[in-house]
């Protein structure tokens, strides 16, 4: 709701709701104050809400943007304490041990945080307690004296304060909450006289764990989530630009700036997204990928240059934004002894991958299997290193053919004369059989054992014929072309 308000939606002036889809039905996720006054509530079906308030204005939720917003808030929280984590979908947990005295005391600190959020247009509630779960419960269900103050549980008094909180304060799945309420356990205080073994037997271990977390009997630390760096740069122009040379120059500046950022943090980009905000409010995006983490400005520029030629920017570009959408720690490698020689194909594979798709550039890797059709697999083309010698599996065909039946003209074992793909063959020499069983221990393996024969034909072709041993009459097929 606050995110929509910040983006310019006048949420306080109308009955407004954020809706999301639950099992094919639109339900209300969040409501503006005016909508709440008119009697709507969260998780209400949108159709019912429209019946109550016909002029209700709704927007769909955008979970990805909400998460980015929460992530930004978490980065902001680092100004109060270095120990902060996101409590998805709409909370932040801060470990303020040793930080409160910097803001005089806990109430003042909470007040300062809430004021700070309020000036940013975010409505928030705060709770301070010994454990993370108790602080969460206090923030959501605690009593507070003034609008901008936190619900504070003094040290060691969780049990006293949490007694009156509803069972929903335990942060358990909704069906567990429903079950508890059905059995008359409406507040946390109702759980105190019960044995945890009985609770576990009736409601499962989740409820007991949540209860223990609340009271601090089970470890539930605030894991300091180091804010993941964001590598993004933008360039806004006083007037829209449209010439390809200008776009290239702007791109060059963006790339050199993002590369220096990556270098400072020790990262290399795996994929980058260039976004053009056009003068007519449209957005155009170009994505490229790199075959291995890289921060070489020349390489990134070449990849974008291939895609820029077909770009249609219409009335001109207002803003260009370059973001590293995937990045990894970067370990620099020496490519060659001198600058003149190039022996590293990773740039080539990057270029090919950006047009063909990176999954279309592959290399073979041996698999420990005697089945000729499953004895290798495809892996990513990079790294180009060779691990070991390729296992020697004897005489195997150069081309695998998935058991194509042949037409027998003169029977035999293997057939003395046959035709395959419209060509007649005469067997001159044959060697076999080599019986290869199917992989019965693999669940998806199907089929039976096959007898394979190497056959040299009078026409020169060497074929790998196969047949199922028990089949009557024998059905022969071509399984490969031998060199």
């Amino acid at each position: 709701m606050n995110r929509f308000a910040r983006s310019g939606v006048p949420v306080n002036e109308m009955a407004f709701a954020v809706v999301h889809e639950v099992r094919g039905a639109q339900r209300i996720l969040d409501l503006s104050p005016l909508a709440l006054e008119k009697g709507l509530y969260t998780d209400m079906p949108l159709a019912d809400a429209r019946g109550v308030v016909p002029d209700l204005v709704t927007l769909p939720e955008d979970a990805a943007r909400d998460e980015i917003f929460l992530r930004a808030l978490q980065r902001w929280a680092n100004s109060y304490t270095p120990w902060s984590m996101r409590d998805a979908p709409d909370g932040l947990a801060l470990n303020i041990t040793g930080c409160a005295h910097l803001f005089d005391d806990e109430p003042h600190m909470a007040c300062r945080i809430l004021e700070d959020l309020s000036t940013r247009g975010i409505d928030a509630f705060a709770g301070i307690a010994d454990t993370k779960a108790a602080a969460r419960a206090a923030a959501r269900f605690g009593q507070r004296s003034e609008p901008l103050s936190a619900a504070i549980m003094p040290p060691g008094q969780i049990k006293t304060f949490a007694e009156g909180y509803p069972i929903e304060a335990l942060n358990t799945p909704s069906d567990t909450q429903f079950e508890c309420r059905r059995l008359g356990l409406c507040s946390i205080g109702d759980l105190y006289p019960l044995k945890s073994a009985d609770l576990a037997r009736r409601f499962g271990l989740d409820l007991v764990r949540a209860y223990e977390r609340l009271l601090g009997l089970h470890a539930d630390p605030v894991l300091p989530e180091k804010a993941r760096p964001v590598f993004a740069v933008r360039l806004s122009f006083p007037d829209p630009i449209g010439l390809l040379d200008d776009i290239h120059e702007a791109l060059r500046r963006l790339i050199s700036s993002i590369c220096s950022k990556l270098e400072n943090e020790g990262f290399g980009a795996r994929s980058l997204r260039l976004t053009f905000l056009l003068a007519d409010k449209r957005e155009v995006q170009i994505d490229i990928g790199l075959a291995r983490p890289g921060r070489s400005a020349g390489l990134i520029e070449r990849q974008f240059a291939l895609r820029l030629s077909g770009l249609d920017v219409g009335p001109g570009v207002d803003v260009m934004r370059l973001q590293a959408t995937a990045f990894e720690p970067f370990t620099p490698k020496q490519r060659a002894l001198s600058d003149g020689t190039r022996n590293d194909a990773s740039d080539l594979i990057t270029t090919l991958g950006n047009r063909l798709g990176h999954d279309r550039l592959v290399a073979w890797e041996p698999v420990s299997s005697h089945n000729p059709f499953r004895s290798f697999k495809f892996r990513e083309a990079l790294p180009l290193t060779r691990h070991a010698n390729w296992p020697d599996r004897g005489v195997r065909p150069l081309l695998n053919i998935p058991h194509e039946p042949l037409k027998i003209h003169q029977a035999g074992r293997p057939p003395l004369a046959f035709s395959w793909r419209g060509q007649a063959y005469r067997t001159t020499t044959a060697h076999g059989p080599e019986r290869i069983g199917h992989e019965w221990w693999q669940r998806h393996s199907e089929g039976t054992a096959r007898d394979y024969w190497r056959v040299e034909t009078g026409e020169g072709q060497r074929l790998w014929l196969s047949q199922r041993p028990q089949e009557k009459p024998p059905c022969w097929s071509v399984s490969g072309v031998l060199p």
Partner: protein
């Protein structure tokens, strides 16, 4: 009077050029010419997916090959051209059903010359005209040798290599014997007379 010149071994495939190979043994001959060099194989997934690295491993290490699966023919030509020009992989192979047209082939030639790399186009159906530096037809000779034991027969291969177009140099036919039991691979060639054109190119 013209003197018939004979060459003990077939001419080597020059770097900086693109050569065309056709026939059922074309892939085998291309693999033989790779040696220990790294190579890129471009082609439709239907052809590349059928290759068996276990069979290839008798001639070259499959791990020195990188595959570019290109469902579209123009993508395959583009990938080949980019790789030839880039020169980070010394050899590029294009496996295709039809020879690229004269313009596309000429582009490959220019790219190979620029990068100093070796390009091989392996085609199922050779076109009557092609811009290849050399054109080869590789086939397996009809079997007549029934004296050897069947097992040792499959340890070696014989390929008839016919060089029927050469822009700079001789043409001819050679019989190449490959013995896979020897380490390193033993390849022996003998001159076998006039070249044989594939039927489509005869006119």
């Amino acid at each position: 009077m013209n003197k018939t010149r004979t060459f003990a071994t077939p001419p080597s495939l020059h770097r900086g050029r693109v050569h065309e190979l056709s026939g059922e043994a074309a892939l085998l001959y291309a693999l033989l010419s790779l040696g220990a060099q790294r190579a890129l194989l471009c082609g439709p997934p239907r052809i590349l997916g059928a290759l068996n690295p276990d069979g290839i491993s008798r001639f070259v290490d499959p791990q020195q090959l990188t595959l570019a699966l290109c469902p579209l023919a123009q993508d395959a030509c583009w990938a080949m051209e980019t790789a030839l020009r880039d020169s980070s992989l010394p050899v590029c192979l294009l496996l295709t059903y039809r020879t690229p047209d004269l313009t596309a082939f000429r582009r490959l030639q220019l790219a190979a010359r620029e990068g100093g790399t070796l390009g091989l186009v392996i085609t199922t159906e050779p076109a009557p005209n092609s811009a290849g530096e050399t054109r080869w037809h590789c086939s397996f000779p009809p079997a007549k040798d029934a004296n050897r034991s069947a097992n040792s027969l499959f340890q070696s291969s014989t390929v008839n290599v016919s060089l029927y177009k050469n822009k700079k140099g001789t043409t001819g036919q050679w019989r190449v014997q490959i013995d896979c039991t020897a380490n390193p691979l033993s390849v022996d060639a003998t001159f076998a007379g006039e070249p044989v054109c594939p039927q489509r190119c005869a006119g």
